[in-house]
């Protein structure tokens, strides 16, 4: 198989978990190349990732998840990768699930694949978060007819077309749901597949219940405006 898949791992202070994730990706075979984007961590993320043989891009200034992931897409696009998978560096996304996301991009006419925690599993999230995710999903269905249960999932794969688009245009603050919408509006086919996810082992979620309301408002507003945008 001479497909080259970029596994893009945005990492902010993930020194404890990053090596395990990279080792997991390596077990998938030779077609997968790990690209870690260190978003100005203050710990040993870079050293631990390089020790596992990953390519590490070090951002000189903290950009947040959107800017970090986009850097990965830019790298993967300019280095001729056929597809890119976004995987969290905290071990939430088991690398053995990656092929489930990648395979449909080749031959099934899907351009972007989202890994869903909720399809066919009983993954638990907090009440507020669950409500938020449901609201976003409802919004997407009502405005575009898209059916995505887990729009906030950061476990997703894109083909080269979407990669090039995201290298140019990618939302910055809470990019997951909005990027789905942008890809859809650009005319790409977005689909969802059930995956198994772990609960995070180290660190805390970047979305505390505290920020949930702000998050929801911002995401929904941004997506609403996107509907009127020329993408």
């Amino acid at each position: 198989m001479d497909r080259r898949i970029a596994v893009v791992i945005p990492a902010y202070n993930e020194e404890k978990s990053i090596a395990g994730v990279i080792r997991g990706v390596r077990r998938l075979g030779t077609g997968y190349h790990v690209i870690v984007i260190n978003d100005r961590s203050s710990d040993d993320t870079t050293r631990n990732a390089e020790a596992e043989g990953a390519v590490v891009i070090e951002l000189p200034v903290n950009l947040g998840i959107g800017g970090a992931v986009q850097t990965g897409f830019k790298y993967a696009y300019s280095h001729g990768f056929d597809a890119a998978v976004q995987v969290d560096g905290d071990g939430q996304h088991p690398p053995d699930q990656i092929p489930l996301l990648v395979e449909p991009l080749f031959g099934e006419g899907v351009d972007m694949m989202v890994g869903s925690r909720f399809l066919g599993s009983d993954y638990k999230v907090s009440l507020m978060r669950g409500l938020g995710i449901r609201l976003i999903s409802l919004f997407l269905r009502a405005t575009t007819g898209m059916s995505v249960r887990d729009a906030t999932s950061g476990f997703r794969a894109v083909n080269r077309g979407v990669m090039g688009f995201f290298a140019q245009t990618y939302p910055q603050d809470y990019p997951e749901p909005e990027s789905l919408l942008l890809a859809f509006l650009k005319g790409f086919k977005v689909a969802e597949v059930p995956v198994r996810m772990s609960y995070r082992q180290y660190g805390i979620s970047s979305i505390t219940p505290f920020r949930a309301v702000y998050y929801m408002t911002k995401v929904l507003l941004a997506m609403f405006i996107d509907l009127f945008r020329e993408v």
Binding site: I57, E58, L59, P60, V61, L63, Y75
Partner: protein, 119 residues
Amino acid sequence: MLQIRLFVGVVSILFFIATFEFIRKGRLREEYAILWLSTSSIIAILSLWPGLLGILSEMTGLYYITAVLAIFFSFIIAVLMHYSITISRMKEANKELIQKCALLDLRVRDLEHGKGNEA
């Protein structure tokens, strides 16, 4: 009334001088300088020649202090809006530069380690 006029006049002249100094030292770009120089000029002229305000209100029909306040607030809001747009544009440019910088940094490290010929 005279004291207030004197005060406003002095402030506007100080404002004018400060703006001029900032441009001279290169700390304020010309595009903003025009805005602030004209603002301070208008305030200065109005405080030195209060009759002008009467002529203006005759011409425009703006007799009420609320109308003047509305104009004042619109001006402030427009300036703030302009700053928000400028900040957004700068953030985007900044992000692109940071990303480019990081990608070039990786390329330099690769070249130093003789891995430059890879894909």
